[in-house]
Each structure stands twice: as structure tokens, then as C-alpha cells.
């Protein structure tokens, strides 16, 4: 399990439960954007912020928040097999 802000750009990752310290307001906001545990997102960029593609919509997430989102499986778009952490 690693934090979303550590996932390299170009990688598809499966979201896990966020860290308990993530504020309630952000949990609700991210759920409204569709970022819920079990959902796949593609990391588009890590600079200047974490940008993920979630169901064809790009979302920019500041590092402080992305560091509290965790992923439990990921794979590169170039066909590598999913890897469990």
C-alpha cells in the first residue's frame, strides 16, 4: 500500500481506504468526485500537483491531500501486470 502522491505518472492504480487523518470534508469531497475505495484512477502528473484521470475527468489534488490517499494495486499503462503492494 502506498500513498497516491508516490505513484508515478502514467500508472493506473486502485484506491484503498484513505488515511484516518484525512479530514472529513475531504472524504466527502473526494467521494463526490468519484474517488472511493476500489475505484481505478490513472495518475496523469505529479507536478505541480497530483493530477488523476477518474472516469475521463481530470482532477488536480494538492500533495497534502494526495499523500493521505492510498492505493493498494497499480500497473503501468504499457501492459505490465497489476502488482499488489
Amino acid at each position: 500500500m502506498i500513498a497516491l502522491d508516490r505513484v508515478p505518472a502514467g500508472t493506473t492504480a486502485r484506491l484503498a481506504e484513505p488515511e484516518p487523518s484525512l479530514a472529513s470534508s475531504f472524504r466527502e469531497l473526494l467521494a463526490a468526485y468519484g474517488l472511493v475505495p476500489g475505484h481505478l484512477v490513472t495518475v496523469v502528473a505529479q507536478e505541480p500537483m497530483t493530477v488523476v484521470l477518474c472516469d475521463h475527468v481530470e482532477l488536480a489534488i494538492e500533495r497534502d491531500v494526495a499523500a493521505k490517499l492510498r492505493v493498494d494495486a497499480w500497473s503501468t499503462l504499457r501492459g505490465a501486470r497489476p502488482v499488489s503492494a
Binding site: H39, T42, V44, V57
Partner: protein, 658 residues
């Protein structure tokens, strides 16, 4: 097609006077749909927060009916100001039916909102908007299958071209109460039933379904809580205790509600979706990523600013102002008007009032039409193009790190850039910021150091003509002032900064008609505000001059103007004009033209840019933050302007430039 007849409390069919509420996430095209359904125009942009208040207009498709355009709501229970305004509309406007405008590209998220709206029990139709963009990304949606799963009519729409609008109107007029339900886990489901039962016993005429009220109450929707506190004051204590018991030692119910809806939305969306392929090969997506690239973003930003400068500064403030002010007004219209008035005015003071040095025509109307109009027209055109292209949303990501240093996040770039159009308009848009603290800091910085388009154009015209370095010097001073004042404000105003989480709309080539319509709407708004104020300002200047007060003020201000700022004493008149509007004052300095040296032009423009915000802005600040805060800002801004102007003079003198 489903067809339902609405029945009122007495069992009669509801036909006339029905209210349709447009509801949906930010940036899904509600305002364009509103325009299509009503013919009325509200400011339409492709970043969240454009609709900060509920707009209403008569429906084109049903006599006597009204359509409401509610602010973007990402989710319910409401949290942001926009969501709260949307919830207030649902609670207080008695909508007969809801039209959910949704982003077809993001079906799962759209259905999560549908499920929240379903719980209100209000008749509902779902417009899957931006279907063309979904097609381009290979997102194929089986609308029939989705309609069957949700139990409501689902229409594919492209609001910008009008596709599907007739069908939306038709289905809205016959919309059904949806029947689909979110399966909430135990013990939440049981608690919802208990609260629903209590509300049903005590509230015979709720604004919408008791079950919806119960779920929103459990999710701590502040608007629903306030409504219940008014209508059920005796029962609130028990309801709150039930909620607190349920949350004790466990997860917040709002999280469980959000997750349950997201799960249900995923299950409902999946069978209707097909043909999805990765979207990251699209040209607009690639360009969108280049705009955010750590290296390429900077030359792209420089290019965008350069083109904006060429169009507004060189073409608007240079070529167009030259044609209008010098050739048309200076060479043709003003001599003719002056000749006519002087020949026919019965008293010399009347001729002086209309065509004198501070004449209503020769100063007020000439400034407004010949100087300001070409500048704001080109600015709003460029602004509208960038706004519709999706660039500003990316700018908020690029600017986020810088804004973090002044207690804000990148979202604040949107009101700030809009402030370059009109600070009054932008002050209202600070509502998109999450906290009162952020709104206060952003409003203060805009009132202090963000020039409006007319002022910006005048500065570009004046300093740009002297040399790019002087223009960049002016920008540098303003950035330093914003950074310094923001740094202090972030430390003095209590509260925490909120990190940025934002959606990036796709980069698009804007539709020319939409940009022109938007520019026209803004120009109309702007001129309606500017012309009366320019005329009032000119009249005030004429009156002060006529009673001998203007020379007295100029004489009194002389030590400050000629001494500390190092400007000619006539510049004092421009600062007096600046009390009414900063751009009016800047135009006064612009009109002094060749009598100012390059250094004096820079000092004058820096000082007048930082000078008091215009009357309309002050009124708007008072409305948004209270009269006391507005007065406090004024008390801080004026001395800062004079102080910075003098410091710039000292710096230029030290560098041997003054």
C-alpha cells in the same frame, strides 16, 4: 417515454405556474441549458462558481412556468456556499420538477447526484450533457437502459448546439417521481426509517419527501437543519440525539451516505456504459497536460500573456483608442459638439459643464466611449476566449504553490483573473472559495492591487508605449505588493488554509458565438455601471473646479504629489478623480500623456492602481463582508498606495532612472 401528471395537495393537476429547477455539478453546462430553455442569459463559464446565486426566468416551453438555474452542487448534503444555495432553492422555491444537468463523460459521479435528488421525491429528468465530448472519448451510454434502471427519463444533450433541448423540455413537463432507492447499510437504513417516520408524523407539508429530509438531516446538511429548526423546534433535540448516538464511536453518517451512493451509482452506471477506451491519446488531453507541465507551462503562460498584451494593450489601447479618441472624437465629434454647444448654450457655465475642461461630453463621455470602451471590449473578448478554453482552471493548478504562500489555494486565481475584468464582479465570485478567511484575503488583495480591465488597458497603453521594461516594472511592483500584503494577511487573519482539489475541464476551442455573446453581456453590464459614474465623476470635478475647491485640493495635495511621489501638481486632479473610480483616475493620468516622464508614468500608475477601489467595489465588499471590514480595507489601502508610490520613486531615483 414516461408520462406523469402532477397532482397538487387537493388532487388537482398542476399545470400553470410550475417551477423547474436546474440542478447539477459545477461545470456541466447548467447555465447554457438555462439559456436554451428560457432565452435568458446568465454569465456562462467553464469553471465552477459562475452561477453564484439562483437565476430565474420564464420557460419558453410552458406558458406561466419558471426555470431556476441553481449554483453547481457536487453533492448533497450541501457543504459549499453554492451547494447551500442550491439546497435553499429546493427547500424554499417549491419546484414542481427537477432537471438534472449531468456530465455524460462522468456517468458514475452524475448518477451519485441523481440518487441524492431521487431521495427528494420530486419529479426528475436527467439531461446527459456534453454528450459530444463523451462520444469523442469513446464513452457510449445506453440512455434507454439507464432510464429503465433509474425509473426516470434520460436525454442525451449537447447544450452548446441545442441538441436534445426540446426533448428535455418535453420530458420535464411530464416528469415522474423516481422510484429507485439507494440501499443503505444497517443500522443507517433503520435510522433513516425512524427519522422519516417522525418527520411524517409532524410535518404534513414538507418541501420535499420526508425520507429525503431525513437523509439530509443525518448527513448534517446545514440548510435542512436550519429549515427543521424553524419548522420542528420541539423535535430537533431528539433528532440530534438520535444522530449523535448513531455516530458515537463510529464513522460519520455523511461518509456512509456518500459511499453508499457512490457504490450504488457505480452499479447502476456499469450496465449502461460501453465502448470505453483510454482517453489519454486525445489531442486536447495532451495539450492540457503540456499546459500543466513543470517546464512547458511557463512559456505557454508567457505566450498567453503576450497575446493578451498585443490584443488589449497594443491593439485595444493603442490602435483602437487612437482611432476613436484622436481621430473620431478629437478630430470630428468633439469640435462639432463644442461648436454647437458654445453657439447655443444660453449661459457660459452650461457650455463649460458640457464641453469645458471637465465637461460631461468632452471628459465624461469621451473617457467612457473613446478611451475605456475599446480597451474593455478587447479585454473581455480575450478573457472570454481563455475562460471558454479551459485554461483558467489549469492556471489555478500552476498558481497553487504561489497562492499557498499568501494563505490561499490556486482556486483564488479565478476571482483574481476575473478581477482584471471588473473587481466588483470578481468580489462576488470569491464565494467559490471554501472559507470566509480565504474570501476575505482574496477580496482585500483584489481591492488593493488588482486593476480592472479599463485601468489595465490604460496602463498597457501608457507604459507599453514607453517601453516593455516599464510595463514589466509596474507588474513587478503589483506582484510584490500582493505577495507582501497577502503574506501579512495570511498571518494576521486567523484560520487554516484549505488545500486545493479541483476538476480540470478539457481544453476546448471556444465557440465564437458564445464568446461574443458573453463579451456583449459583460460590456453591457460594465457600461451601465461606468457611464453614470464617469458622468457623476466629471460633474463632481466640474463642481469642485467651479467653486474653486479643485485648485485648493491640488494645492493641499501638492507636497504629497510633487514631493513624496515626484509627480507634476496637475496629477493631483487625477487622484481626486481616482476616488470615484481608479480607472477614471488612470485615464486622467493617461490624458496627461507627454507631460509625464517615464518614471513619473510608472509612479503615477502604481499609485493609482493601488488607490481606493471604485464605489461599486466598496459597496460589494460591504455587502459580502460587512461595512466595518469594507471601511477597514479602505483605511489600509489608501496609505499603502501613497507609501508604495513613494518607495517606487525612491527606488527609481536610487537606480538613476528618476
Amino acid at each position: 417515454m414516461r408520462s406523469c401528471t402532477l397532482i397538487d395537495d387537493n388532487g388537482a393537476p398542476v399545470r400553470e405556474g410550475k417551477t423547474y429547477a436546474l440542478v447539477g455539478a459545477p461545470n456541466v453546462g447548467k447555465s447554457v441549458v438555462f439559456h436554451r430553455l428560457t432565452g435568458a442569459y446568465v454569465d456562462v463559464s467553464n469553471y465552477p462558481g459562475t452561477t453564484v446565486e439562483v437565476a430565474r426566468a420564464a420557460a419558453r416551453f410552458e406558458a406561466g412556468a419558471t426555470v431556476l438555474d441553481t449554483p453547481g452542487a457536487l453533492a448533497f448534503p450541501s457543504r459549499s456556499d453554492d451547494e447551500r444555495a442550491a439546497m435553499r432553492a429546493l427547500l424554499h422555491e417549491n419546484p414542481g420538477a427537477l432537471i438534472q444537468v449531468a456530465d455524460a463523460k462522468h456517468l458514475r459521479r452524475s448518477i451519485a447526484i441523481t440518487l441524492a435528488l431521487v431521495e427528494t421525491g420530486l419529479p426528475l429528468v436527467l439531461a446527459l450533457n456534453m454528450s459530444d465530448e463523451a462520444d469523442a472519448r469513446g464513452v457510449a451510454i445506453d440512455a434507454g437502459r439507464l432510464a429503465a434502471a433509474l425509473g426516470i427519463d434520460v436525454v442525451r444533450t449537447v447544450a452548446t448546439t441545442g441538441e436534445g433541448m426540446r426533448a428535455v423540455a418535453h420530458h420535464a413537463a411530464h416528469a415522474c417521481r423516481p422510484t429507485v432507492r439507494v440501499p443503505y447499510p444497517q443500522p443507517l437504513a433503520r435510522l433513516i426509517d425512524v427519522i422519516e417516520q417522525r418527520l411524517t408524523e409532524r410535518l404534513p407539508h414538507p418541501p420535499f419527501a420526508h425520507r429525503g429530509l431525513a437523509i439530509l438531516f443525518l448527513g448534517r446538511d446545514p440548510e435542512v437543519e436550519a429549515w427543521l429548526a424553524v419548522h420542528l423546534p420541539d423535535a430537533m433535540r431528539d433528532l440530534v440525539l438520535l444522530r449523535e448516538d448513531a455516530e458515537r464511536g463510529g464513522e460519520r453518517l455523511a461518509h456512509v451516505i456518500a459511499r453508499s451512493r457512490a457504490d450504488a451509482a457505480g452499479r447502476l452506471a456499469a450496465p449502461s456504459l460501453s465502448g470505453i477506451h483510454p482517453a489519454n491519446t486525445m489531442r486536447s488531453t495532451t495539450l492540457g497536460r503540456l499546459v500543466l507541465h513543470p517546464v512547458w507551462s511557463l512559456p505557454i503562460l508567457a505566450g498567453v500573456l503576450g497575446i493578451a498584451y498585443l490584443l488589449v494593450g497594443a491593439f485595444g489601447a493603442g490602435t483602437l483608442v487612437g482611432l476613436l479618441e484622436e481621430d473620431l472624437f478629437g478630430g470630428v465629434i468633439n469640435p462639432a459638439v463644442t461648436h454647437f454647444v458654445e453657439a447655443h448654450a444660453p449661459w457660459p457655465w452650461l457650455a463649460s459643464l458640457v464641453v469645458g475642461e471637465y465637461g460631461l461630453w468632452t471628459m465624461g463621455m469621451t473617457y467612457a466611449i473613446a478611451l475605456v470602451l475599446p480597451i474593455v471590449s478587447t479585454f473581455f473578448l480575450v478573457f472570454g476566449f481563455l475562460e471558454d478554453s479551459g485554461y483558467f482552471a489549469r492556471l489555478s493548478v500552476i498558481a497553487n504553490r504561489g497562492f499557498a504562500r499568501i494563505g490561499l489555494n490556486g482556486r483564488a486565481v479565478l476571482p483574481m483573473v476575473l478581477g482584471l475584468g471588473c473587481v466588483t464582479m470578481a468580489t462576488l465570485t470569491t464565494r467559490i472559495l471554501a472559507t470566509r478567511r480565504e474570501r476575505l484575503i482574496a477580496t482585500f488583495l483584489m481591492a488593493l492591487a488588482i486593476p480592472c480591465s479599463a485601468q489595465l488597458g490604460v496602463v498597457m497603453g501608457m507604459l507599453g508605449a514607453i517601453g516593455l521594461a516599464w510595463m514589466l516594472g509596474w507588474v513587478g511592483v503589483l506582484v510584490a505588493v500582493i505577495a507582501g500584503a497577502g503574506f501579512l494577511a495570511a498571518r494576521l487573519i486567523p484560520g487554516k488554509r484549505i488545500p486545493l482539489v479541483a476538476e480540470m475541464p478539457p481544453l476546448r476551442w471556444p465557440v465564437a458565438g458564445n464568446v461574443l455573446k458573453k463579451t456583449g453581456g459583460r460590456l453591457h453590464w460594465y457600461l451601465r455601471e461606468v457611464i453614470p459614474l464617469f458622468l457623476a465623476g466629471t460633474f463632481a470635478m466640474w463642481s469642485l473646479d467651479a467653486v474653486g475647491a479643485l485648485p485648493w485640493i491640488i494645492q493641499r495635495a501638492e507636497p504629497l504629489v510633487t514631493g513624496w511621489l515626484g509627480l507634476p501638481k496637475e496629477a493631483a486632479a487625477a487622484f481626486v478623480m481616482g476616488f470615484l473610480r481608479r480607472d477614471f483616475g488612470a485615464t486622467g493620468l493617461f490624458a496627461m500623456g507627454a507631460s509625464l516622464s517615464a518614471a513619473q508614468a510608472l509612479i503615477g500608475m502604481v499609485t493609482i492602481t493601488l488607490f481606493v477601489p471604485c464605489i461599486a467595489s466598496v459597496l460589494m465588499i460591504g455587502k459580502e463582508h460587512g461595512a466595518l471590514r469594507a471601511l477597514l480595507m479602505l483605511a489600509l489601502i489608501m496609505p499603502t498606495a501613497i507609501l508604495v508610490g513613494g518607495l517606487v520613486r525612491l527606488a527609481l531615483a536610487a537606480a538613476g532612472l528618476a
